[in-house]
Amino acid sequence: MATREIAGFTVEVDSDGYMTDYKSWNNEIAEAFAKEQGIDELTDRHNIVIEFMRKEFEENGTGPSIRKLNKQSGVSTKELYQLFPGGPAKKAALIAGILKPQGCI
């Protein structure tokens, strides 16, 4: 298991760079991950997605599908792709401090 420094914290990450313990996540870490992914500022809309993903992960052990995100978080598929350009489920999972989603949808 690798560790890395981010926003002044030391966190454990897997080989793809995703945090392995979602409980050691905080907002500063999220901001730092987002900047690394080219997202300068996390807005309220980003935070809705992040919170939804963390809740799903806590309940089911994996992030939600885009379809579920769309239907249950109130953020449309279109907006999701605008908020997290270049791979919404993966990027949002990284920023939310959860493991990479396992689904194909």
Binding site: I66, R67, N70, T77, K78, G86, G87, K90
Partner: protein, 170 residues
């Protein structure tokens, strides 16, 4: 991390119109967008069924002459090695049943029905095209297609549009 260049763009060709033949194209194109890869699908021949307004919600799993139906056996609590007799498949309702079964399993995996899938993909930025030659052959017009379809293209335009893409025939 991979030492190879990541895939940046894919062009899928969907040439068959059975439910189990259309889903792979949809899943792969949508999956590409989820990875930040540009994606488009060119629907041709029987694949047009998947984007025609009147037919796209009624795609079927063929139960006659479909040699891979043994894969459905575990869903019926039977061994995966058991072949599905093609004569049984000809009985009215059997294809509908197989289709229902597949849709049920797909729903469990959070895979949407074709119509909803096309909307989701279009929102995700997948471009959908109908093949000009087959559109002419079947006597269709752009109005026969679901609104998510971006246009009708010739084979030549498909190749132009696919510049720099990996072309995948499903």
């Amino acid at each position: 991390m991979s030492e190879y260049e990541p895939v940046k763009k894919v062009s899928l060709v969907c040439a068959k119109g059975g439910l189990e033949e259309v889903y792979p194209s949809l899943i792969m194109a949508n999956g590409a967008r989820m990875e930040g890869i540009e994606a488009s699908i060119f629907f041709t021949f029987f694949g047009l069924n998947a984007i025609v307004k009147k037919t796209h919600e009624n795609l079927k799993v063929a139960t006659v002459g479909n040699a891979a139906l043994n894969l459905a056996m575990p869903m019926l609590k039977m061994p995966i090695t058991m072949p599905f007799p093609t004569l049984l498949g000809a009985i009215p309702g059997v294809s509908n049943f197989a289709t229902w079964l597949m849709k049920r399993e797909m729903e469990k995996l959070d895979v949407p029905p074709v119509g909803e899938f096309l909307e989701m993909m279009s929102d995700a930025g997948v471009e959908l095209y109908a093949c000009k030659m087959t559109v002419d052959m079947y006597g269709l017009t752009i109005d026969d297609f679901v609104p998510q379809v971006n246009g009708i293209m010739t084979v030549g335009e498909f190749y132009e549009k696919s510049a720099g893409a990996q072309i995948i025939f499903t």
